[in-house]
Symmetry: C2
Subunit: 298 residues, 2 copies
């Protein structure tokens, strides 16, 4: 019977609740990370690798993203623009639409770390590039990605991680990714119900699946906020349940990040845990291909 | 004839323009600041004094502000609340409504620095306490206070300075004051006209008297952003034309600042430089009393 109980139910009542995580954060598989690095990742829910890619590689990624946006087929879903203008905010499903990004996501610097931490073969659940424009970039409130992926996409358990590659320098003033170390150990059940086509709004400003102020205060009690900073090519690996957000960008520099979610092939998405149809595939991949195969099949 | 030309005209056309400052930033009067400190202030447009007040003094200021808000007479103007709720965002005209703040603004640690930098006797043009609540505190876009004080209040020249006393620790994540060093040397004429009763909106979100993105890019070219951080009781002194702003507060800690504007008694406000009536006195004092006299007269 216990098999059938969802440990991560959420948006089922009017109140929030804190529940313990029931999945391990890191495996003990071998890989490029040291025992200390794996321990820190399991303890903090994230790991920062400065300058994992060179400026030349970053330039290639930026050029590819620019080219994708410029040649975007009008009928293809998966591009999000800033409210009220044409400025591109996000481009999705890079792992399907770009050979270059397919190769990158299979690069051992990312893939071997993902496989070591998750402990199985992995596939890409979602990938995108995010532009936070200079002086107009909006803040993104605290959230756990897993809450949304679980409720709206049907991802069963916490066996996924995100990686964010800095494509511009991440500094104090351009709205860097902020994380709450240790927050991944607690699942915050959010209040409210999921509205229809929620994703169309939530990519701009999320209202459901957002922790309450009170839940965050509980989570932050005795914990600090960390915003890893570094040059282009640096990478933050963070657990799918690590609470994170980002401030607005009032600096004259854009903040551009590449984002990919590696999920365990043993944790593929099912029916959503809410009574809504699944989100589009550019947000939640359902055509499961372990990452290494992307390369073999080309 | 040159006497009659306003060097700081603004909001008179549809385009922005950068004009040189024509007033000195600092005097060479003696006072508590060293020659280096005065030079740095003149060069950067601001000066940071860490822990100028003790925690006990800060506690007294916080208690006084709390008491003022709790006992606010319903008919008295000068209290601003967050949109859609009762949370207090700002309380104005502290120099008129509170003995404690009157004494504080006459404290030699503030007053002697203000007089040394401005070079004359001074009076308080505006004073307030600002609460940026935890997790909900909104960003404030870049602006020069002088532009507003000139156009909407009739402050003739750049002979005023602001001081911001941290009543909570100011850190990376609670939306600290950000300044652009050197920006005080350039006056950005803003585009557009001043709408009626602009102040009612602009205290929450300013739309006019805000520099264009292009103007800011010009101003920021080759310059950096600085956000002084420090414990409660630290003070930032900054010139009335120094471009500043602040990010949102996504941290669990409020950011509370006390703010007072010292203006030269030789630079008292006249008729506004726009065709609108002056703003209320809680925003722009017209009952001029040099600060020291506040104490003598009690």
């Amino acid at each position: 019977m216990s098999e059938s109980i969802d440990p991560y139910y959420s948006r089922t009542s009017d109140t929030w609740e804190a529940a313990p995580r029931v999945d391990p954060t890191a495996s003990d598989c071998p890989g490029p990370l040291t025992t200390d690095e794996v321990w820190n990742y399991a303890h903090d829910g994230f790991l920062f690798a400065q300058s994992l890619f060179s400026q030349d590689e970053v330039d290639e990624m930026l050029a590819e993203a620019k080219s994708l946006a410029e040649n975007w087929p009008p009928s293809r879903p998966g591009i999000v623009r800033e409210p009220g203008c044409d400025t591109v905010r996000s481009i999705f499903r890079l792992h399907r639409i770009s050979d270059m990004f397919q190769r990158l996501f299979a690069d051992e610097r990312l893939l071997d770390r993902a496989k070591q931490l998750i402990g199985t073969e992995v596939y890409i659940h979602q990938s995108r590039v995010n532009y936070k424009p200079p002086m107009d970039g909006k803040e993104f409130f605290w959230h756990s990605d897993f809450e949304t992926w679980h409720v709206e996409d049907g991802m069963p358990r916490m066996r996924a991680l995100s990686m964010s590659v800095f494509l511009t320098e991440s500094h104090e003033f351009n709205g860097p990714l902020m994380l709450i170390p240790g927050s991944h150990e607690t699942f915050i059940r959010c209040s409210g119900k999921t509205p229809e086509n929620h994703y169309e709004q939530s990519l701009r400003r999320q209202e459901f699946g957002v922790p309450s102020r009170e839940a965050l205060e509980t989570l932050l009690h005795g914990r600090e906020i960390i915003a890893p900073k570094g040059p282009p090519g640096s990478v933050v690996f963070f657990d799918c349940n690590t609470m994170h957000g980002s401030n607005g960008n009032l600096s004259p520099m854009p903040r551009v990040n590449l984002f990919a979610v590696y999920n365990s092939v043993e944790n593929v998405v099912k029916e959503p845990f809410c009574d809504r149809p699944p989100r589009p595939e550019y947000l939640a991949e359902r055509n499961i291909e372990p990452v290494a195969l992307h390369l073999d099949s080309r």
